[in-house]
């Protein structure tokens, strides 16, 4: 059965959303192949291979433990600082490497974009998938740390799954927005690493949420990463149910941004090849 496709001048509208998502589903094999390829290429020629996914958060944990706990004496809510920091670094690194790699995904694949048609959002998505893979590898070390520090997980640890799902939505939203903007304004590529560094300090990664002054907290929690990181730590380390208020804020902001940034991405996509 032949399908008739109609191409019209681009507009910023949600009317094409079902069609765009159908196209994306049609190209799922490309999404799969490219994601596998991303992961393979990253580790193919390195001697330590997959260990790099562990080494990065591990070395950050050691440095942070030394600086912030040993030298600066930051409190870590009764858990050893090393595991306290690692539990937050894990989702943070996932977010940070997903966004920073995805931002360049379109520009670095300009030879694809100008030659072949495929739903362009696949490019940023594959970087998010590859970062998720690294996250899962690094998560095994968290298991090791929990055994070492005698942290007993409860059933509440299962909340980590929806929390990571929310985080993925937010990472996708940022990736769509930044990669599409990067096509026209190349400064984005330089600005993003800096932005992510500042952002980490605006998120309870190296310090607990309780260290933030109470009157600032309502504004502080508008950062969706606060709800994600703090609750991830809460359900894993403390075995408690998540704190729903900050989680709901994260869900709402992530989903709204994902919707808007996807529409924006598809609008930019239409004439991307002309300016890339």
């Amino acid at each position: 059965m032949r399908r008739t496709s109609v191409i019209r001048p681009p507009t910023l509208t949600a009317a094409n959303l079902p069609q765009d998502l159908a196209k994306l589903a049609q190209y799922r094999d490309l999404l799969y192949t490219l994601s596998i390829h991303r992961i393979k290429v990253r580790y193919k020629q390195s001697v330590l291979g997959i260990c790099w996914a562990l080494l990065q958060p591990l070395s950050m944990m050691l440095i942070f433990t030394f600086i912030f706990s040993y030298i600066a004496g930051i409190k870590s809510e009764g858990t050893p600082y090393a595991i306290f920091a690692y539990t937050a670094l894990l989702p943070w690194n996932y977010f940070s490497s997903a966004v920073s790699n995805a931002t360049n995904s379109l520009v670095s694949h300009s030879q694809f974009v100008t030659k072949v048609y495929f739903p362009r959002e696949i490019l940023p998505i594959t970087y998010v998938v590859a970062a998720l893979f690294d996250f899962l590898v690094a998560a095994t070390l968290l298991g090791g740390l929990m055994i070492y520090y005698h942290v007993r997980p409860t059933l509440n640890a299962l909340y980590a799954i929806p929390i990571i799902l929310i985080l993925s939505c937010f990472a996708l939203a940022m990736s769509f927005f930044l990669s599409a903007t990067q096509v026209r304004i190349r400064d984005i590529g330089v600005a993003v690493p800096l932005l992510l560094q500042l952002w980490m300090f605006a998120t309870p990664v190296i310090y607990p949420l309780t260290a933030v002054p109470r009157r600032l907290q309502p504004y502080y929690e508008l950062n969706p990463m606060v709800g994600v990181i703090e609750n991830f730590r809460q359900v894993i380390l403390h075995g408690q149910a998540p704190e729903f208020r900050s989680l709901v804020i994260a869900v709402v902001i992530s989903l709204v941004l994902l919707f808007v940034s996807y529409l924006y991405f598809k609008r930019v996509e239409a004439t991307m090849a002309d300016i890339i």
Binding site: T4, I7, H37, V116, Y117
Partner: protein
């Protein structure tokens, strides 16, 4: 049954100029450039046509006439600014996508990567893998990283993948420029096979001979408009007439500044002395460069450069090969280059002409412009890059043979 429809399609590009206020800070300059420093350029203006199922249509025209814009729009690489395009069925482009290869991955992994990039399913690729590898002739190296491939293997593999797509509508873009003669023959056979199977084909090319042999109908584009359509022979001769008139257009394209001399036109004549745009490999050819001199030039050099459609310089004619002196007096004049035997392969060339002072750098020419267009047709057989004049004799080597056997 209509497979492709263009309904008053227009495509606008925005051309940014570097702004001239160089003393303004970079940020201000950039902002000004983004806001006002651009011009609209319509690469396609109100183009409408319909293509029937099973039809093979060739699109020809000068560089910049809008041919590749039509391909890009059909292939959904970029969206139109106006109008509507309707495509009935699965569309694929037979283009070389080897640039999408990842050097670290093996041939096999790259086939999967590129195949899915072109919209194939993994299952489909697995089924066709042997055939793709056979077509490209790289069976022995399929598990070798492609960074160890020769450039020929690279291109052949990239093309072989595209050749295994099974579309309803096929786009072709200068396909005949890939690989050696043997591989090209395979590609042409594949295209003919698709045509026999009733696929709709859109072929964009500078190679008029190929267009004529493949297509049922030809569209001639001129400055973004559909100038004429009809049977191949008729439209191609119309195009050749346009090309012959081209100097007028070329004159417009040259920068009009006060210069000592300028190129007026370049014309090509065949062995019979008739003006043409097509000569066959092995034929004689004469090129006439007409120039106009405003201030006498004591020691000038006039040259013609033959560029392939990919922008590679293939050869040149020059008035200073043996150090000859050329004095240009004020007024009109003509330089004739005589070529006893054209040795170029079957392809199309842009001819660019220059006048300069002897010994001056290329960029300091007095005048330089794209001046003509040359199509090389089938003549003496060329395998490789060009025809090398040769002959052979046979000698008896009886004694030698006895010793050998």
């Amino acid at each position: 049954m209509i497979d492709l429809t263009f309904d008053r399609v227009g495509k606008k590009y925005r051309i940014y100029r570097q702004s001239e206020q160089n003393r303004a800070p970079a940020l201000v300059r950039k902002a000004r450039e983004l806001m006002t420093g651009w011009q609209d350029f319509w690469a396609l203006k109100d183009v409408s046509f319909q293509i029937e199922r099973g039809e093979a249509v060739g699109i020809i025209g000068h560089n910049g006439a809008g041919k590749s814009t039509i391909l890009k729009l059909l292939y959904n690489i970029t969206a139109p600014s106006r109008g509507e395009i309707r495509i009935n069925g699965r569309l694929a482009a037979l283009i070389e996508v080897a640039s999408g290869f990842h050097p670290e991955l093996t041939g096999r992994e790259n086939v999967y990567l590129n195949g899915s990039l072109l919209g194939m399913k993994r299952r489909e690729i697995t089924q066709k893998l042997d055939s793709i590898v056979g077509f490209a002739g790289v069976a022995q190296f399929i598990d070798t990283p492609v960074k160890r491939y020769s450039s020929g293997m690279y291109l052949r593999l990239g093309f072989a993948i595209a050749a295994h797509l099974d579309p309803d509508v096929l786009l072709l873009d200068e396909v005949l420029a890939v690989g050696d003669a043997e591989f090209q023959a395979k590609c042409i056979e594949r295209i003919n096979q698709l045509k026999r199977n009733g696929k709709t084909i859109v072929f964009v090319s500078h190679n008029l001979a190929a267009v004529e042999s493949l297509c049922d109908r030809v569209f001639l584009l001129r400055q973004g408009e559909l100038y004429s359509t009809g049977p191949p022979r008729q439209v191609i001769s119309e195009y050749e007439r346009l090309l012959a008139e081209m100097p007028a257009a070329a004159k417009l394209s040259s920068v009009t500044a006060a210069r000592a001399a300028e190129i007026v036109s370049v014309s090509i004549f065949n062995a019979a002395g008739r003006r043409t745009t097509t000569v066959a490999t092995g034929d004689a050819m004469r090129a006439e460069v007409e120039y106009k001199v405003h201030e006498p030039v004591a020691d000038a050099v006039i040259e013609l450069y033959f560029y392939s459609i990919f922008g590679n310089l293939h050869c040149h004619f020059s008035t200073e090969v043996k150090g000859e002196h050329l004095r240009l007096a004020a007024g009109h004049g003509v330089i004739e280059f005589h070529c006893p035997e054209v040795l170029l392969e079957v392809a199309s060339f842009n001819i660019e002409a220059s006048i300069k002072h002897r010994g001056s750098a290329f960029s300091e020419h007095i005048d330089y412009k794209q001046a003509a267009f040359l199509n090389i047709g089938q003549g003496k057989p060329v395998h490789g890059m060009f025809y090398m004049p040769h002959s052979f004799t046979q000698k008896a080597v009886g004694v030698q043979q006895e010793i050998d056997s």
